[in-house]
Symmetry: C2
Subunit: 220 residues, 2 copies
């Protein structure tokens, strides 16, 4: 009982901080994308492709969440966009407070789209809001099509699922119909994209969808 | 500060229960393998291959840890070995107490090797002992060779790392030398196997190593 109460308090406190972040982002007109997946599903590659495609249209900033190291932040910085590295020091997700503490490292007036790349984890990040407009998840084909049924919360919490590494479909055991059916059963409104960040196939639909979301947010 | 204290208390309590599990397993002469990885790295396939190879030599039992569902337990049960499904109901790892509660579902006198397949997660399971003799992790090539540097605790806590899906090496960006070097930097005693559960290449070395561990345990 005590343990359950503690967890609830932590989540309540996080929700409050996430809401404060959200108010700040609204004032600054910053659209925030919380990007989640298992380790190695291709989040950083997707962020790179998204920056290259949209950086002439929007001012983009990135927050990289990793347990340790700054390899992903260095990849992103090489594209010429501002990036802050969060090192969680062991924690399995980023939370509202980590995002708040990262913000002084960014010039918010110079950002239209802020991408927060979460720690690679298909479980815990889905429980913690950071002040995002949208949660988007990446599922890669080598992980298998049984993942929605086994890790439901992530699929329920996400507005969109990007099925990445479809270039590997000939070599892996991935039932696309099963993955989509199970994900849509959990979340009937889930928007699904099939892409390869290696070959670029399918990415235009993702860029268009994200642009639509940003423009709809900016016009409110 | 309060949060840190709570986490420590939970881990202390878990260590105590894991130690009680360990004493029970020692009395019953059961070698326990805690198997961990990211989602979809191939834990269940490895368990299946291991059962098929070793079930004439050892009496094997399995505990399947999943957030929900019983698909993996059904796969294992079809091989004719006793299996108990733990549903963590959202929790991102299995712990000592979950294992203790699963044990009445198994006839311990009929088990030499107990395999506990953890929830797919490269972070949290490494923090929780369950009463195992050994922790073994699976890293799959599509996840990328940067994973040791980014998720260090899992590599530090494991006695062996099984690099799975080497049949996909021609199609993915995985630097084998980097993965091994970074993992060995974190854990110089780490035993490394390169395998494919699809083609079976490399698996014999894993079966031999595990058999050696079981026999060494039984003879003490």
């Amino acid at each position: 009982m005590a343990k359950i109460t503690v967890v609830k308090n932590i989540l309540d406190a996080n929700d409050r901080i996430a809401e404060e972040n959200r108010k700040l982002f609204d004032r600054e007109k910053i659209y925030v994308l919380n990007l989640m997946s298992s380790p190695g599903a291709g989040k950083t590659s997707l962020v790179e492709r998204t920056i290259v495609s949209l950086q002439n249209k929007y001012k983009i900033g990135v927050i990289e969440g990793d347990i340790q190291g700054s390899a992903d932040a260095e990849r992103i910085a090489s594209l010429g966009v501002p990036v802050v590295q969060i090192n969680t020091g062991g924690a399995c997700h980023i939370d509202g407070n980590m995002i708040r503490e990262a913000l002084p490292g960014l010039d918010l007036a110079q950002i239209d789209l802020l991408i927060a790349e979460n720690v690679g984890n298909l479980v815990c990040p889905a429980e913690f809001k950071v002040g995002e407009n949208t949660k988007v998840m990446v599922l890669s084909t080598p992980e298998g099509s049984d993942k929605p049924a086994k890790y439901p919360l992530m699929f329920q919490q996400s507005e969109a699922m990007i099925i990445n590494k479809i270039d590997l479909l000939p070599y892996v055991d991935f039932d696309m119909a099963q993955a989509k059916r199970d994900a849509l059963t959990l979340n009937p409104k889930l928007k699904i994209f099939e892409v390869s960040c290696t070959s670029s196939v399918g990415l235009k639909d993702w860029f268009d969808w994200l642009s639509g979301r940003i423009e709809s947010f900016q016009s409110t």
